[in-house]
């Protein structure tokens, strides 16, 4: 209570200082919760790609998602490579070609991967898709919200109606934003998108965007990837490492942004705490003199001012966290329509942000506190 009174002795100044930290922590929480969400997606992606080799047409960049078709009949060629246990063809297309922001996509698979795929998808409702299903879809939980999908209802995928037979449980990664339909259905969707000149050359039933190879037990997928590239002509084969590298470079940029924001808030918030506390010490020089004259030790004076600066840090941190959390929740709610979850405020982020603010307050309070403690009582008392 006394700390509160001391900190708010100069209301405006205290509020401005706290606001400085609030803004820093707010930025940290918003950027951080975005990073947390991305990190989760990446770790999900890394898990997904950890045991397989993705083969695309040679013209597509390694690790990238392909729009160039690859023929389904190349499965046989790939399965003949030693070390490949199974190959399965699939198509991934964006739900909406126009919307760059959306992560929503459509996946079709020949289901040959059943029994080989280790990434587990649980059903929240309904049933999973079977190879024989036509015009039926199973959707991830986020895309379900975007498309207002309910089991038994119909959704529109690229202008074609599909019956929803199941909804996947939340994975916090890519499948949440994916609608799964049969390979045949997605082949039709992709085919109509192709330029007429390409259409003339391909058979829709032979259409795929990637072929996934599952290695035999004990075979290293990265080595298998280079073996496949060496044996099969005209393909790009990416093992887990290619995806990890790609994810890493993407998250590296993001993590440096977070680091930058933290650094800026450290500077701005920290300097304003130093300024506030130095002013407070100056204004209270006389009070410090009194305290020393009645027997306050160095440590007690330092302790008093450090507690006050830590308190300023805590208030700034808590307010910043609250505002950041509100912003994240509001934006998530607004984006729910598009099925995109942008922010994830995790407990470690929340605790980290407030702890960061407190440490910032204490660190910035050091100089003014020691300055205060070193004041000679007689000089401090003479100070007007």
């Amino acid at each position: 209570m006394r700390i509160f009174r001391n900190v708010f002795r100069r209301k405006m100044r205290a509020i401005l200082t706290i606001l400085g930290i609030t803004i820093g922590v707010f930025a940290l929480v918003v950027m951080g919760s975005m990073a947390e969400k991305i990190n989760l997606m990446v770790s999900g992606g890394t898990r997904y790609y950890s045991d397989k080799v993705v083969i695309t047409d040679a013209s597509t960049p390694t690790g990238g998602y392909s729009t160039t078709p690859i023929a389904v009949n190349r499965i046989q060629e790939i399965e003949d490579v030693p070390g490949v246990a199974r190959a399965s063809a699939g198509i991934y297309i964006l739900l909406d070609e126009e919307s760059g922001m959306s992560m929503n996509g459509i996946v079709g698979s020949d289901m040959r991967n059943q029994g080989y795929e280790t990434f587990e998808l649980r059903m929240a409702e309904g049933r999973d898709l079977t190879a024989a299903d036509r015009d039926k879809a199973v959707v991830g939980c986020d895309i379900a919200k975007a498309l207002d999908a309910k089991v038994g209802g119909t959704i529109d995928l690229r202008g074609k109606p599909f019956e929803v037979v199941g909804i996947y449980a939340k994975t916090l990664t890519a499948p949440d934003n994916t609608a799964v339909i049969s390979l045949h259905d997605v082949q039709q969707l992709l085919y109509v998108q192709l330029p007429a000149i390409v259409q003339a050359q391909v058979d829709p039933d032979e259409l795929a965007t990637s072929i996934t190879a599952y290695p035999d037990p004990g075979v290293d997928p990265d080595q298998l990837a280079s073996t496949i590239e060496g044996t099969v002509s005209n393909v790009n084969a990416s093992g887990p490492q290619a995806f990890i590298d790609q994810f890493k470079s993407a998250t590296k940029i993001f993590n440096s942004i977070i680091f930058g924001v933290a650094l800026i808030s450290l500077l701005v918030g920290g300097l304003s705490v130093v300024n506030t506390m130095t002013m407070a010490v100056l204004e209270r020089t006389r009070e410090i003199g009194i305290r020393k004259a009645i027997g306050a030790s160095h440590r007690q004076i330092v302790g008093q001012f450090l507690t006050e600066s830590a308190f300023i840090g805590f208030l700034g941190g808590a307010t910043g966290l609250l505002l950041g959390w509100i912003a994240a929740t509001v934006v998530n709610a607004l984006m729910e329509q598009s099925g995109t979850v942008l922010f994830l405020v995790t407990p470690r982020l929340a605790i980290g942000a407030v702890a960061f603010a407190i440490v910032l307050g204490v660190a910035s309070g050091f100089y003014p506190s020691f300055h205060a403690a070193r004041l000679k009582p007689v000089l401090a008392l003479r100070y007007e």
């Binding site: 006394r2 009070e287 020393k292 004259a293 009645i294 027997g295 306050a296 160095h298 007689v378 008392l381």
Partner: protein, 279 residues
């Protein structure tokens, strides 16, 4: 508040336990010898605040230090109270040399043996009267609860128990100075030093504060050393120490008839007899 007066005196009397023994013999409690202090203001520009000041103050005495502005009386008081260090000379308190103590030892001294009262009251504005008094007790290592109990006792002794929850801004000057006295008193120091304790007070409040200090001095045997311009303060003391240009010029015992407590009067007689024997 006439009805609170009797209980106040009783409380003050309760606080005597520690100090009455010290007044049995009039031994020296504070002694300064050959104090010199030069304040350097700039190149070739300095002030010699003290030029070899020496004085002794006896235990249980109440003395005034007077002199024109700039004669070094406040500087000497600050050195007696370990708030400032002399360039040369010695300060002795309770038989111990204290001018060359470490910061830690000085802090301990300020907590346990010395109390200060200032002209500007110097209460912490954000704290209530009780908190201000308790602060000194807490610095001396008491628990918050114990400190508050002792603080309330000290406030009772100065007749302000009913103002315990007020902030300094809600108290009159005289009341603020009484809170400051309670704060100086709370750790039962041997010596209370006052730097112009009535300097900011009107004459009514001045009298109130002087009487209060005298009462505490007589009841508890606490030594008071008061730097003052106020002849009323000086005339209420046992002795007046005059200073000029950084030295003590003369020391005059006041011929005020004071109703000492019987025990204390006896103690003085003892002291007189001892002196006679020495002679």
């Amino acid at each position: 508040m006439p009805d609170t007066n009797s209980s106040r005196t009783a409380t003050t009397a309760n606080m005597t336990a520690k100090n009455t023994e010290g007044t049995k013999t009039m031994k020296t409690i504070v002694s300064v010898r050959g104090l010199e202090k030069r304040y350097v203001l700039g190149k070739d520009n300095y002030v010699d605040a003290l030029r070899g000041a020496s004085v002794n103050v006896g235990s249980g005495e109440m003395v005034a230090i007077m002199g024109p502005s700039g004669c070094g009386k406040s500087t000497m008081l600050h050195m007696m109270g370990c708030l400032d260090e002399p360039d040369s000379g010695e300060v002795w308190l309770n038989g111990r040399r204290v001018d060359d103590l470490s910061t830690r030892a000085t802090t301990k001294l300020l907590r346990e043996e010395i109390g200060f009262i200032f002209q500007g009251f110097n209460l912490v504005p954000s704290m209530t009267a009780l908190e201000n008094v308790a602060l000194a007790s807490q610095y001396a290592g008491r628990s918050r609860r114990e400190a508050q109990r002792l603080a309330l006792e000290a406030l009772e002794a100065v007749g302000l128990a009913d103002r315990a929850g007020h902030r300094p801004s809600e108290l009159s000057g005289g009341q603020q100075q009484r809170v400051a006295i309670a704060r100086a008193l709370v750790n039962r120091p041997a010596v209370i030093m006052g730097d112009e304790p009535t300097g900011n007070l009107d004459s009514t409040s001045s009298t109130e504060v002087i009487d209060m200090m005298r009462e505490i001095n007589l009841l508890t045997g606490t030594t008071f050393i008061l730097v003052t311009h106020d002849p009323d303060v000086a005339s209420g003391c046992d002795r007046i120490i005059h200073m000029r240009d950084g030295v003590v010029t003369d020391e005059i015992a006041c011929c005020v008839a004071i109703d000492r407590e019987p025990g204390l009067a006896g103690a003085e007689e003892d002291a007189d007899r001892e002196l006679a024997e020495v002679a």
